[in-house]
Symmetry: C2
Subunit: 305 residues, 2 copies
């Protein structure tokens, strides 16, 4: 049986409120917001959205509140043909939400709401849905659910990619090792890969011995490093663009990389394409505001490299 769809992203769908104020209010005071933007976010949703925009058939497995259904965000997903059939819907809690307030000094305060994501914990991994996809990408989300999803995906011989991102602190070393052992590709920025190595007490080669054939370390404008059992270490320059907002760069890189890799591109080709994709995303505020089409990303890639 041929596998019909490309990438299922597992993890957070979130709403991001990006707010500016003159100054933060003290206790028992209020502040007018100068600007408020309500942006689509959440690492798994970013990966699914960018991937769909690039032409992949993507799906999304997140835990969201019932207010999400038929929301504008949901409709944005439907417009790109994202399969959201397996979403976990919470009756009681709203979709994960972040408020990020910035004052005139460029200081930031943020508030995070886990909300519906708590439904992940006892969620059942939808094996039949996972089987529809070539890659299962485990993004920031619930460590326990990600772990279970990795096990099922590996049992079903799907390509498993894992990006614990800022959630690293939520994984015990044991849980982290377990998810990594079920992964084919491990993504992280340079801080995160170092933290994983420290946590498990391993070097890059030991890390690959645990499971993943490929470890990809992204270093922002310094480019990216790919470590693989077959090809050793490969270094790829980034396509530098003045970053208006770096949020979502990593997620879009992962999606860009996987979109090429599953279609037979080399590690180097996949990473160059990925760098091009993320160079678009950082040009505008928000993770899903400036997603390139395949042609846009391809053309910038061949212009640069």
């Amino acid at each position: 049986m041929s596998i019909k769809k490309d990438l299922l992203a597992v993890g957070h769908t979130a709403l991001d409120y990006i707010i500016t104020v003159d100054e933060f209010p003290k206790a028992n005071n209020s502040a007018p917001m100068k600007t408020m933007k309500n942006l689509n976010g959440g690492a798994a949703a970013n990966v699914a959205m960018v991937g769909a925009k690039l032409g992949m058939k993507t799906g999304l497995l997140s835990a969201v509140g019932c207010e999400f259904i038929n929301s504008h965000y949901h409709k944005d997903m439907e417009k790109l043909g994202i399969d959201t059939d397996a979403m976990i819907i919470s009756e009681d809690e709203n979709t994960s939400t972040a408020f990020v307030m910035t004052n005139n000094n460029q200081d930031q305060i943020s508030y995070f709401y886990w909300g519906a994501a708590k439904e992940f914990h006892d969620g059942v991994v939808p094996r039949d849905k996972l089987k529809e996809f070539k890659v299962v990408h485990l993004a920031t989300g619930d460590p326990h659910f990600n772990c279970k999803s990795g096990i099922v995906a590996k049992e079903e011989e799907r390509l498993v990619s894992f990006d614990p991102g800022q959630d690293l602190g939520m994984y015990s070393p044991k849980k982290l090792k377990e998810v990594i052992s079920n992964s084919n590709i491990l993504f992280g920025n340079h801080h995160e890969i170092k933290r994983i190595q420290d946590s498990l007490g391993v070097d890059i080669n030991d890390l690959m011995d645990l499971g993943p054939e490929i470890v990809i370390k992204t270093c922002g404008k310094e480019g990216s490093f790919i470590y693989s059992i077959d090809e050793g270490k490969i270094e790829i320059d980034s396509i530098y663009r003045p970053a208006v907002d770096p949020t979502g760069a990593g997620d879009s890189f992962r999606s860009g990389f996987l979109s090429q890799f599953i279609n037979g591109a080399s590690l180097e080709e996949s990473a160059k394409f990925a760098s091009s994709v993320s160079s678009f995303v950082v040009e505008k505020q928000g993770c899903q505001t400036n997603m390139p089409s395949y042609d846009e990303a391809y053309n910038r890639m061949i212009d640069f490299y």
Copy 2:
């Protein structure tokens, strides 16, 4: 021509985020939200929703963002049959939003976003829509637009009620006097009525000479006072209920009062019914969470008085 509908509320529709945290984050830190509730709010919307629940045919004239259309809030309005045809839709800004954060010490911080409400300023008053309603209620909103709406409603010989509420500081004395002169009923809590008198340098009788035949001063659990040219001063006890959240009590009182008054009830009967309506609303968190039906409000009223 008979007038087919009852009450058009003019002013804010807003989204209220009610949040609890252990403590407020300092600059460049973040805090997890313990709870986050997304509640329907905005004074004009509260009046229209409570009125519709009580059986009135209500309409709403607010300036909202395009994300409002077909949102859950919009659907809640449609379920109650509220006429939202005349809503002003902003292409650029989101619907007015408030974040209210409370920490473990019960200190509060709030952030307010005016957003789409700025579209009121240059908005055209929809005369034909106003003519469909017996009462035009001017709630918190844009002073200039409220003033224009009052003029049109008076020209069309509609009953005009006015509740500047917490927006009082946005009215110049001249503007305040102009709106009041076009109003038949002026609502305010005891602080607000005093502030209006101070601002205009008038006593209650002078205030009525400016325009309104009826001035209604609500004093929370102390009850309410009605001043009218025909009947002098009437005092009504409140129906006391332990208040979980007093927000929205005033709006629901206004809606309850008008629902009876336009159908021929006396001032006293209307205020007793209004007190019953607001006694329901304060029992649950949020302005529209515990709106009574007509029968519920009526039964509690006759039990109490």
